[in-house]
């Protein structure tokens, strides 16, 4: 943001790898390059192909939901003792992905990291859509979501029932709904000045009206910006505790239980780090094709990609520390159930998942120590998938291996997702991508007004005004 103290605009001293914005841009060219993507009349063929595939997968989700509601949750692979299967694995996976968006938009804003500017808008969109995908799972896991409302949400119902606020599952409802609402508000507030830009530049009257209504009469007045900047900073301050609290509360779902493999104090910090790790991987997965196909290399530079890789490396190491602690606690506790749990994880029926997880989340991120790999776009695209798979496996290992060996061997069991589990998972990826494609087509994927502040000439000469 412009209110931050000043970055150096000494283009001469910046190498290509350090640049946040390519040279030669001015206020007008930044505006035109970004708004062109939305305002162009012809939708690119590649967009249609990508949208068609995503929309097809979305239909798979609708089919999976229809079948689930018609038959019941028995179509999923969940059983006793594994009552939480793909639904909770995918819930935690999606909600974790969202965290990078909030970290970029809130924490990096407060820390005055200007490289966040070109990636915050679509990272926030990613957060919203990931939370939408996440919300699907626990709601449908209740079996009959249309009657779940009265024990999830506190409202005066005809039965006079109220939720049990001592349950971490209710905390989760509060944490996730607050997170979704605040993320949506933050995203929308950031969009208002850009919607005004689109209103002023749209060619057809219909779009002028649509963007005009959404911009609510924004006219960039000094009085507007004055309150706007205050609101934006305060929202960033309010969203910052959410980055830490949402996945902490999600980890309470596990950590407050007495199940070996869940009952660990390391869970909140290690979940939060894992969420940011997975989230940055998804931001890379999305931003690499976005910058390529829409020619946004001037704005999403190698510097951005490298910074994201560094965040992934740092959070990946925290996650590795978390795995180490889990293993150490289990051994050091001397508790036979705990010791058995970790030994069973490493050598039991799901050992392959555990070691694949170690490969993806402990070994692979260490490749990012190399600057050459960190600045290689194809490698970053590849490793972003490795991390996403690794983080999915992490939740699979935590949930399934902890549950499948109950305290009594008579209650042991095995778990595997059915075709409807997979259909729902692939379907939510379809929902996510469909929303992403619509977002890129109809809204500016990069914050235009914040990019203007990075252009040389946006700065006031300091000596004159202080």
């Amino acid at each position: 943001m412009v209110s931050s103290p000043r970055h150096e605009h000494d283009d001469h001293f910046q190498t290509e790898a350090d640049r946040l914005i390519a040279p030669g841009h001015d206020f007008g060219s930044v505006t035109d390059t970004i708004s062109k993507i939305v305002l162009q009349r012809r939708t690119p063929r590649g967009w249609w192909i990508g949208f068609a595939i995503s929309f097809g997968l979305l239909q798979l989700l609708l089919y999976a939901i229809a079948h689930l509601l018609f038959v019941g949750v028995g179509v999923w692979g969940i059983t006793i003792p594994i009552g939480w299967g793909f639904d909770i694995i995918n819930f935690v996976w999606w909600i974790g992905i969202g965290h990078a968006g909030t970290l970029i938009s809130a924490i990096l804003l407060l820390l005055r990291q200007e490289w966040r500017t070109s990636i915050n808008r679509f990272a926030e969109a990613m957060t919203l859509f990931a939370v939408a995908c996440a919300a699907f799972y626990p709601i449908f896991h209740t079996g009959r979501p249309w009657v779940a409302a009265y024990w999830l949400l506190p409202y005066p119902n005809t039965m006079g029932l109220w939720p049990n606020f001592r349950s971490p599952l209710i905390w989760d409802v509060f944490a996730v709904t607050t997170y979704a609402t605040v993320s949506a508000l933050f995203w929308f507030v950031g969009l208002i000045p850009d919607l005004a830009t689109l209103r002023d530049r749209a060619r057809s009257k219909a779009w002028r009206i649509v963007y005009g209504v959404a911009a609510m009469g924004w006219r960039g007045s000094a009085k507007h910006w004055h309150n706007y900047e205050t609101a934006y900073l305060l929202l960033a301050g309010l969203a910052t505790p959410l980055v830490v609290s949402v996945h902490t509360v999600v980890s309470f779902d596990f950590a407050t239980g007495i199940v070996p493999g869940w009952h660990a104090t390391i869970f909140p910090p290690y979940f939060v780090a894992g969420a940011i790790y997975a989230g940055f991987a998804m931001v890379l997965t999305l931003s690499i094709p976005l910058r390529k196909f829409y020619g946004l290399e001037d704005f999403i530079t190698l510097k951005h990609l490298e910074n994201m890789a560094k965040v992934m490396l740092a959070t990946g190491l925290i996650v590795a520390y978390g795995y180490m602690c889990e293993a150490f606690f289990s051994w050091y506790s001397g508790n036979p159930y705990e010791t058995f749990m970790i030994w069973n994880r490493m050598t039991g029926p799901y050992a392959a998942s555990y070691w694949a997880l170690i490969l993806c989340n402990v070994v692979a991120p260490n490749l990012l120590w190399s600057k050459r790999l960190r600045t290689s776009v194809p490698f970053l695209f590849f490793i972003s998938f490795v991390v996403s798979i690794g983080m999915w496996l992490e939740r699979f290992v935590i949930i399934v291996t902890s549950l499948h060996r109950d305290f009594l061997p008579s209650s042991w069991g095995l778990y595997a997702g059915t075709q409807f589990d997979w259909a729902a998972f692939v379907g939510t990826i379809g929902l996510f991508l469909t929303l992403m494609f619509l977002f890129v087509r109809f809204l500016p994927a990069i914050s235009i007004f914040e990019m203007r502040t990075l252009v040389p000439g946006a700065e006031m000469p300091q000596e004159e005004h202080r």
Partner: protein
């Protein structure tokens, strides 16, 4: 008869020019003045001497309302309306109530920040005379503007226009109602 005049709109090409002009406009005694820019310029608000935003107070109020409301709801539901004995814990098991109360605090504060910002800015505002100036569309691209309203006591159609030209405006347009 020509439509009544809302004010005069002066166009500038750079943030430095508009801030400098705003300082001169303010120094000349004009008070019903507003500046327009495609991105926030702190110095412009300072030059126009806008008073401090009241938004932080609204946000604090929203946060406190969320805290009291969230905790109060849990207290009322768990102690008064629907007391449940869960593992022999007290009805007022306040440590467990911290998490939802924390979330409602943030939720209400964030709501107050957004609604408060819109209210203080008078948005949504479907019509504003300044949009009658065709060149004003560039205020959301790369041009900077200063508006002096006709209701300003110092306002004079010809004199103010000359003054704005002298302050470095590349163009001065009349804003119709």
């Amino acid at each position: 008869m020509s439509p009544p005049l809302y004010g005069l709109l002066a166009e500038f090409h750079s943030p430095q020019e508009v801030v400098e002009a705003a300082e001169r406009v303010h120094a000349a005694g004009y008070r019903k003045v507003d500046g327009f820019s495609p991105f926030p310029i702190e110095e412009l608000s300072e030059a126009l001497e806008l008073h401090k935003s009241h938004l932080p107070k609204l946000v604090l109020g929203g946060g406190l309302a969320g805290l009291v409301g969230g905790f109060g709801l849990q207290y009322w539901a768990s102690v008064i309306e629907y007391p449940m004995n869960i593992g022999g814990r007290p009805f007022l098991s306040w440590p467990a109530f911290i998490v939802p109360a924390y979330e409602t605090t943030i939720l209400f504060a964030a709501g107050a920040a957004v609604l408060g910002m819109l209210a203080l800015n008078g948005l949504p505002e479907p019509y504003h005379p300044v949009f009658n100036v065709p060149g004003f569309a560039l205020a959301s691209r790369d041009k900077f503007f200063i508006l002096i309203e006709a209701t300003d006591p110092k306002f004079d159609r010809a004199e103010t226009a000359r003054f704005l030209k002298g302050a470095g405006a590349s163009d001065v347009s009349e804003v119709e109602h």
